[in-house]
Protein backbone atom coordinates (compact mmCIF):
# COMPACT_ATOMS: atom_id res chain seq x y z
CA UNK A 1 0.00 0.00 0.00
CA UNK A 2 3.01 2.28 -0.45
CA UNK A 3 3.08 5.25 -0.35
CA UNK A 4 -0.22 5.64 1.59
CA UNK A 5 0.58 3.09 4.28
CA UNK A 6 4.04 1.85 5.15
CA UNK A 7 5.19 -1.01 7.34
CA UNK A 8 5.12 0.09 11.01
CA UNK A 9 2.31 2.65 10.67
CA UNK A 10 -0.13 2.74 13.61
CA UNK A 11 -3.72 3.14 12.47
CA UNK A 12 -7.06 3.94 14.04
CA UNK A 13 -9.88 2.00 12.43
CA UNK A 14 -13.63 1.83 12.79
CA UNK A 15 -14.48 -1.81 13.44
CA UNK A 16 -18.22 -1.07 13.53
CA UNK A 17 -18.44 -0.54 9.77
CA UNK A 18 -21.13 -2.90 8.49
CA UNK A 19 -21.01 -2.22 4.77
CA UNK A 20 -18.23 -1.45 2.31
CA UNK A 21 -17.47 2.28 2.30
CA UNK A 22 -17.66 4.13 -1.02
CA UNK A 23 -14.80 3.51 -3.44
CA UNK A 24 -11.62 5.36 -2.50
CA UNK A 25 -11.71 4.41 1.21
CA UNK A 26 -9.09 2.19 2.83
CA UNK A 27 -10.31 -0.95 4.61
CA UNK A 28 -9.10 -3.87 6.71
CA UNK A 29 -10.57 -7.23 5.70
CA UNK A 30 -10.00 -10.95 5.67
CA UNK A 31 -8.67 -12.21 2.36
CA UNK A 32 -10.93 -14.79 0.68
CA UNK A 33 -7.95 -17.11 0.33
CA UNK A 34 -6.00 -17.88 3.44
CA UNK A 35 -7.80 -15.55 5.85
CA UNK A 36 -4.88 -13.10 5.99
CA UNK A 37 -5.88 -9.85 7.68
CA UNK A 38 -5.14 -7.39 4.90
CA UNK A 39 -5.40 -3.70 4.08
CA UNK A 40 -6.38 -2.34 0.67
CA UNK A 41 -8.35 0.44 -0.96
CA UNK A 42 -11.91 -0.08 -2.20
CA UNK A 43 -11.68 0.28 -5.98
CA UNK A 44 -15.31 -0.43 -6.86
CA UNK A 45 -18.55 -1.42 -5.15
CA UNK A 46 -21.71 -3.44 -5.82
CA UNK A 47 -23.21 -3.02 -9.27
CA UNK A 48 -20.04 -1.61 -10.77
CA UNK A 49 -18.10 -3.22 -13.58
CA UNK A 50 -14.41 -3.92 -13.22
CA UNK A 51 -11.96 -5.03 -15.87
CA UNK A 52 -10.82 -8.57 -15.15
CA UNK A 53 -9.08 -11.32 -17.12
CA UNK A 54 -9.55 -9.56 -20.44
CA UNK A 55 -13.28 -8.97 -19.90
CA UNK A 56 -15.52 -7.30 -17.37
CA UNK A 57 -17.04 -8.47 -14.14
CA UNK A 58 -20.12 -6.94 -12.51
CA UNK A 59 -19.93 -6.86 -8.73
CA UNK A 60 -22.85 -8.48 -6.92
CA UNK A 61 -24.61 -6.86 -3.92
CA UNK A 62 -22.29 -6.95 -0.90
CA UNK A 63 -19.16 -7.31 -3.00
CA UNK A 64 -16.27 -4.91 -3.34
CA UNK A 65 -13.22 -4.85 -5.60
CA UNK A 66 -10.11 -4.13 -3.56
CA UNK A 67 -6.89 -2.75 -4.98
CA UNK A 68 -3.42 -1.70 -3.93
CA UNK A 69 -2.06 1.82 -4.00
CA UNK A 70 1.33 0.40 -4.84
CA UNK A 71 1.84 -0.68 -8.41
CA UNK A 72 4.47 -3.30 -9.12
CA UNK A 73 7.23 -0.70 -9.23
CA UNK A 74 6.27 0.99 -5.95
CA UNK A 75 6.04 -2.40 -4.24
CA UNK A 76 9.46 -3.33 -5.57
CA UNK A 77 10.91 -0.10 -4.11
CA UNK A 78 10.04 -1.28 -0.59
CA UNK A 79 11.35 -4.75 -1.37
CA UNK A 80 8.07 -6.52 -2.11
CA UNK A 81 6.77 -8.38 -5.13
CA UNK A 82 3.62 -7.59 -7.08
CA UNK A 83 0.67 -6.63 -4.82
CA UNK A 84 -1.88 -9.34 -4.06
CA UNK A 85 -5.38 -7.89 -4.35
CA UNK A 86 -8.70 -8.49 -6.14
CA UNK A 87 -6.80 -9.06 -9.37
CA UNK A 88 -5.64 -12.23 -7.64
CA UNK A 89 -8.56 -13.35 -5.47
CA UNK A 90 -11.52 -11.62 -7.12
CA UNK A 91 -14.31 -9.64 -5.41
CA UNK A 92 -14.51 -9.71 -1.62
CA UNK A 93 -17.81 -10.24 0.15
CA UNK A 94 -18.88 -7.87 2.92
CA UNK A 95 -18.59 -10.80 5.37
CA UNK A 96 -14.85 -10.34 5.05
CA UNK A 97 -14.94 -6.65 6.01
CA UNK A 98 -13.28 -6.00 9.38
CA UNK A 99 -12.89 -2.24 9.67
CA UNK A 100 -12.54 1.03 7.86
CA UNK A 101 -9.19 2.80 8.25
CA UNK A 102 -9.55 6.38 9.49
CA UNK A 103 -6.36 7.82 10.88
CA UNK A 104 -2.63 7.23 11.33
CA UNK A 105 -1.34 8.18 14.80
CA UNK A 106 2.27 7.08 14.44
CA UNK A 107 4.98 7.66 13.36
CA UNK A 108 4.67 11.28 14.51
CA UNK A 109 5.86 12.88 11.29
CA UNK A 110 3.26 10.98 9.29
CA UNK A 111 0.24 11.61 11.51
CA UNK A 112 -2.90 12.28 9.54
CA UNK A 113 -6.21 11.18 8.18
CA UNK A 114 -6.31 8.24 5.79
CA UNK A 115 -8.70 9.84 3.39
CA UNK A 116 -10.67 8.69 0.45
CA UNK A 117 -8.75 9.00 -2.75
CA UNK A 118 -10.67 10.20 -5.78
CA UNK A 119 -10.69 7.77 -8.67
CA UNK A 120 -8.79 8.77 -11.76
Amino acid sequence: MAPTILPGDWLIVNPLATGWPAPGAVVVFREPLGETLAIKRVAAGAGEQVPFAGGYLTLAPGEAWLGSDADEKAAASVGSGPPIDSQRYGPVDVDGLVARVLFRYAPLRRIGRIGRRPRD
Partner: protein, 146 residues
Amino acid sequence: MFLTNAVLGFLSPRVTVRAHCDLPCGVYDPEQARIEAESCYKIIEKYAANDDPAYRTRALAIKEERAELVKHHLDVLWHDYFKPEHLEKVPNLHDLFWQATKAASKVKGSTDLADGKKLLDLIDEVDAAWKATGGLEKTRVAGRPS
Protein backbone atom coordinates in the same frame (compact mmCIF):
# COMPACT_ATOMS: atom_id res chain seq x y z
CA MET B 1 11.27 6.06 31.13
CA PHE B 2 8.85 3.66 32.79
CA LEU B 3 6.02 6.09 32.16
CA THR B 4 6.96 6.52 28.47
CA ASN B 5 7.03 2.77 28.00
CA ALA B 6 3.69 2.39 29.73
CA VAL B 7 2.09 5.07 27.57
CA LEU B 8 3.61 3.65 24.38
CA GLY B 9 2.51 0.18 25.40
CA PHE B 10 -1.01 1.43 25.89
CA LEU B 11 -1.04 3.28 22.57
CA SER B 12 0.60 0.68 20.43
CA PRO B 13 -1.64 -1.36 18.13
CA ARG B 14 -2.67 -4.89 19.11
CA VAL B 15 -3.37 -6.17 15.62
CA THR B 16 -1.14 -6.24 12.57
CA VAL B 17 -2.57 -6.06 9.07
CA ARG B 18 -0.71 -6.79 5.88
CA ALA B 19 -0.61 -4.99 2.56
CA HIS B 20 0.34 -8.43 1.22
CA CYS B 21 2.64 -8.72 -1.77
CA ASP B 22 4.37 -11.64 -3.39
CA LEU B 23 7.82 -12.18 -2.00
CA PRO B 24 10.22 -13.02 -4.81
CA CYS B 25 13.61 -14.39 -3.84
CA GLY B 26 15.21 -12.05 -6.36
CA VAL B 27 17.62 -14.65 -7.71
CA TYR B 28 17.50 -14.73 -11.50
CA ASP B 29 20.32 -16.39 -13.36
CA PRO B 30 20.56 -17.63 -16.97
CA GLU B 31 22.90 -20.33 -15.72
CA GLN B 32 19.86 -22.29 -14.56
CA ALA B 33 18.63 -22.49 -18.18
CA ARG B 34 22.15 -23.06 -19.48
CA ILE B 35 22.73 -26.15 -17.31
CA GLU B 36 19.45 -27.75 -18.43
CA ALA B 37 20.33 -26.95 -22.05
CA GLU B 38 23.76 -28.53 -21.57
CA SER B 39 21.96 -31.67 -20.37
CA CYS B 40 19.96 -31.69 -23.60
CA TYR B 41 23.13 -31.25 -25.66
CA LYS B 42 24.93 -34.11 -23.93
CA ILE B 43 21.87 -36.35 -24.13
CA ILE B 44 21.74 -35.84 -27.91
CA GLU B 45 25.41 -36.86 -28.09
CA LYS B 46 24.85 -39.95 -25.96
CA TYR B 47 21.71 -40.85 -27.87
CA ALA B 48 23.65 -40.87 -31.16
CA ALA B 49 26.42 -43.03 -29.71
CA ASN B 50 24.15 -45.77 -28.35
CA ASP B 51 22.05 -48.33 -30.18
CA ASP B 52 20.24 -49.85 -27.22
CA PRO B 53 16.53 -49.03 -27.77
CA ALA B 54 15.76 -48.93 -24.04
CA TYR B 55 18.62 -46.48 -23.43
CA ARG B 56 17.53 -44.37 -26.38
CA THR B 57 13.95 -44.21 -25.11
CA ARG B 58 15.13 -43.06 -21.71
CA ALA B 59 17.41 -40.47 -23.28
CA LEU B 60 14.54 -38.99 -25.28
CA ALA B 61 12.23 -38.88 -22.27
CA ILE B 62 14.83 -37.11 -20.15
CA LYS B 63 15.63 -34.67 -22.94
CA GLU B 64 11.94 -33.71 -23.19
CA GLU B 65 11.93 -33.00 -19.48
CA ARG B 66 15.15 -30.95 -19.48
CA ALA B 67 14.08 -28.92 -22.50
CA GLU B 68 10.82 -28.09 -20.74
CA LEU B 69 12.85 -26.83 -17.78
CA VAL B 70 14.92 -24.64 -20.12
CA LYS B 71 11.69 -23.04 -21.32
CA HIS B 72 10.50 -22.53 -17.77
CA HIS B 73 13.74 -20.89 -16.62
CA LEU B 74 13.84 -18.64 -19.68
CA ASP B 75 10.23 -17.62 -19.08
CA VAL B 76 10.94 -16.68 -15.48
CA LEU B 77 13.85 -14.50 -16.57
CA TRP B 78 11.74 -12.90 -19.24
CA HIS B 79 8.68 -12.15 -17.07
CA ASP B 80 10.23 -11.55 -13.69
CA TYR B 81 13.81 -10.35 -14.08
CA PHE B 82 13.66 -8.14 -17.17
CA LYS B 83 11.82 -4.84 -16.79
CA PRO B 84 10.58 -2.41 -19.46
CA GLU B 85 13.52 -0.07 -18.86
CA HIS B 86 15.93 -2.88 -19.82
CA LEU B 87 14.63 -2.66 -23.38
CA GLU B 88 16.74 0.47 -23.88
CA LYS B 89 19.89 -1.55 -23.28
CA VAL B 90 18.66 -4.67 -25.07
CA PRO B 91 16.27 -3.54 -27.82
CA ASN B 92 15.95 -7.07 -29.27
CA LEU B 93 15.04 -8.59 -25.88
CA HIS B 94 11.59 -9.90 -26.80
CA ASP B 95 12.79 -11.34 -30.08
CA LEU B 96 15.74 -12.95 -28.32
CA PHE B 97 13.49 -14.70 -25.79
CA TRP B 98 11.12 -15.75 -28.52
CA GLN B 99 13.99 -17.27 -30.50
CA ALA B 100 15.49 -18.93 -27.41
CA THR B 101 12.24 -20.50 -26.19
CA LYS B 102 11.46 -21.62 -29.75
CA ALA B 103 14.91 -23.21 -29.93
CA ALA B 104 14.14 -25.03 -26.67
CA SER B 105 10.89 -26.35 -28.20
CA LYS B 106 12.90 -27.54 -31.20
CA VAL B 107 15.39 -29.36 -28.95
CA LYS B 108 12.52 -31.16 -27.22
CA GLY B 109 11.77 -33.08 -30.38
CA SER B 110 15.13 -33.06 -32.12
CA THR B 111 18.13 -35.38 -32.03
CA ASP B 112 20.26 -33.01 -34.10
CA LEU B 113 23.28 -31.74 -32.20
CA ALA B 114 23.14 -28.47 -34.18
CA ASP B 115 19.78 -27.68 -32.55
CA GLY B 116 21.29 -28.27 -29.12
CA LYS B 117 24.18 -25.96 -29.96
CA LYS B 118 21.87 -23.24 -31.27
CA LEU B 119 19.94 -23.30 -27.98
CA LEU B 120 23.17 -22.94 -25.98
CA ASP B 121 24.23 -19.97 -28.13
CA LEU B 122 20.89 -18.22 -27.64
CA ILE B 123 21.05 -18.76 -23.88
CA ASP B 124 24.51 -17.18 -23.95
CA GLU B 125 22.95 -14.17 -25.68
CA VAL B 126 20.36 -14.01 -22.89
CA ASP B 127 23.25 -14.21 -20.43
CA ALA B 128 24.92 -11.24 -22.15
CA ALA B 129 21.66 -9.27 -21.89
CA TRP B 130 21.38 -10.20 -18.22
CA LYS B 131 24.92 -9.01 -17.58
CA ALA B 132 24.40 -5.82 -19.62
CA THR B 133 21.49 -4.91 -17.33
CA GLY B 134 23.46 -5.57 -14.14
CA GLY B 135 21.97 -8.99 -13.43
CA LEU B 136 25.25 -10.42 -12.21
CA GLU B 137 25.65 -7.74 -9.53
CA LYS B 138 21.96 -7.46 -8.65
CA THR B 139 20.74 -11.01 -8.40
CA ARG B 140 23.63 -13.35 -7.64
CA VAL B 141 24.47 -13.92 -4.00
CA ALA B 142 27.84 -12.33 -3.28
CA GLY B 143 30.73 -14.69 -2.93
CA ARG B 144 29.62 -17.24 -5.48
CA PRO B 145 32.43 -18.07 -7.90
CA SER B 146 31.52 -17.05 -11.45
